[in-house]
Symmetry: C2
Subunit: 338 residues, 2 copies
DNA sequence: TTCCGTCGTGGAATCGATTCCAATCGCCGT
DNA sequence: ACGGCGATTGGAATCGATTCCACGACGGAA
């Protein structure tokens, strides 16, 4: 593969001049520029990004560590992150933690070793000591969706409080009183927040939330299945199950179907995170939709600000309720996002 | 951030010795090794992967260019690719082409510029001249799922012929005669193959496949919607629509629902690619399942073979039919993959 | 005792770019 | 005609590792 020296030789100039042309440095004669460009073309020369990064100490690359690629919400997030990053001249390397702290650390370490310019993280399991160190070491970093408290790191996320309140009100209006939730890991911020919002909304309506109605999940399908089975085994099962993410909702649906429980007649189902498939499930699932595209854009911009020396902003966007039929009679404002 | 020189100074040895310890070169005294390791520990030293790559001319990184991250099939593929690569000591950088040739080329170019050790590609739109050049230039490369004909590049894919034949037989057995297909882009191998397999299977059963029953799609949801609407507008609409991938099936379902067409009573639906949600759609969708995990593993191994100088193998694995209820009465062997 | 092979070690070159610094060349003003 | 300034240019240092090569010490064989 041709190097900058070959180009210099071909064009009859020094490597310094070639480099200047490539980086559009002003002081190069028109004539030299033309010759260099011709040589570049003739040789099909492409600068070696590795060498360039070593010298300039920047890679124009962002790391994105997400908790689970199989979760459509994160996939969507990743897609928009890459899009915005590309618009700003960065590449993105995705690390999938699969909700496993060890994998998460592995990816963070690998990304740091490769000297990415900045890190976008959605901490699985409440983050890790390594993550804390990285943040403190001054590596530009931004949290998306989930975050770690007590760190001076910008956070870009959706606030589901209002939407959860709307959801509970909707369920209450439908006549449901016994509402259960499948929570995410207590260590994650989103895991906690959603439960708290749910609890608060219920208290406001004077509804009780017994411990037995709080299932422990880990944001993955299997845990949704297990928690749902436990609910169904209760002497007095809940009338509605609210899953704190879409994969656990899938698991819940699996469990319900396996037991032959009719949705929503016997038990209703709602989920956090809206995805295209919820329109076509049986029945269509009422869900809380997060603005993934906006979150992704805001997060990338905050990170770029941090990297390029500007002051980044934490951003909180509202999530919103999308009512479908999985909790009872169709509501008048039933509408899909898609 | 501490460099190898700092470690050398701290341990009181030369950088050469430090490097030897780090790369477990045999000729280092026990005593020096201990001192170096202690210094590494004390300084929290981590080798700079960029510098190392420049010198060794290898990055221990694989590029994976997929056609569409939002397609759960590719997401699953990506997940297993990363898993297998990690087991073999490689990292993976994912490029999402969104079924756009220009984006695809952008990612390939970026990956090459970063000197990834090898490339795993599922060509969107039949590949590109750039892709052909890269393949010919000797960059280790392996095709997954889709491929470009006429290149000496290993291909790892699933063969759907048998499963499509099973599907058509199943539909025929259910009494359906007018079967339509929403094809993928003619430029892609999978796009063509699936149509051809379908056509062949129908011919064997003496069924006609009029041109009007072949919808042109691009593997994305919107095209599935459009093609389905066109089918429904036909004087004699098909009895079953077979979508060549899961996103177009989603689009088809959208269109069917919008028109108030009952599935499977009025029109049946089947899809290529099976995903967890198909179990819970209304109705559950009959689909052809590809062994994503096995494909991913085989592809990574083939690429690693190529990179490390062994002889890689092309692999073709069978896809299989999973019958559900979207084409008519439940079959006896109804069973989910999940 | 002398010679030679092994082992452990450090100096220095190298990978492919970027960039500082000094040198050269016109050309202008006085 | 001369000093000087701006525009171009090339040489060489540098980024942080790996690795070739030479060198000294030491042990065993003759």
């Amino acid at each position: 593969m041709a190097g900058i020296k070959d180009v210099a030789a071909e064009a009859g100039v020094s490597v310094a001049t070639v480099s200047r042309v490539l980086n559009s440095h002003p002081s190069v004669s028109q004539e030299a520029r033309v010759r260099v460009l011709a040589a570049v073309e003739a040789l099909g020369y492409r600068p070696n990004a590795v060498a360039r990064s070593l010298r300039t100490a920047q890679t124009r690359t962002l790391g994105l560590v997400i908790s689970d690629v199989l979760n459509p919400y994160f996939t969507e997030l990743a897609r928009f992150v890459e899009e915005e990053a590309r618009a700003l001249g960065y590449s993105v390397i995705i690390g999938n933690a699969d909700e496993r702290p060890d994998l998460q650390d592995h990816h963070i370490q690998t990304l740091i070793d490769r000297r990415i310019d900045g890190l976008l993280v959605s901490p699985a399991d409440g983050g890790s000591p390594l993550m804390r160190d990285v943040a403190r070491s001054g590596t530009p970093m931004v949290f998306v969706d989930r975050w770690m408290p007590g760190l001076d790191v910008p956070v870009v996320r959706a606030d589901g409080t209002g939407a959860v309140k709307d959801l509970v009100a909707h369920l209450h209006g439908l006549g449901h009183r016994r509402l259960a939730i499948i929570a995410g890991p207590a260590a994650t911020t989103t895991g906690n927040e959603r439960v708290e919002a749910f609890r608060a909304a219920m208290r406001e309506l004077g509804l009780a939330l017994p411990d037995a109605y709080i299932g422990q999940g880990d944001f993955q399908a299997a845990s949704g299945r297990r928690a749902t089975e436990r609910f169904l085994d209760l002497p007095e099962p809940p009338e509605v199950v609210f899953a704190a993410d879409n994969l656990m909702a899938l698991g819940a649906l699996d469990a319900l179907r396996a037991r032959g429980v009719r949705v929503p007649d016997a038990v209703g189902l709602a989920a956090f995170d809206d995805i295209p498939w919820f329109v076509h499930t049986d029945p269509p699932i009422t869900a809380i939709a997060q603005p993934a595209a906006d979150l992704a854009r805001a997060a990338v911009r905050a990170l770029a600000d941090l990297i390029e020396g500007r002051t980044p902003q934490s951003v909180t966007l509202p999530a919103r309720l999308v009512v479908r039929r999985s909790c009872g009679e169709a509501a008048p404002n039933q509408r899909s996002t898609w």
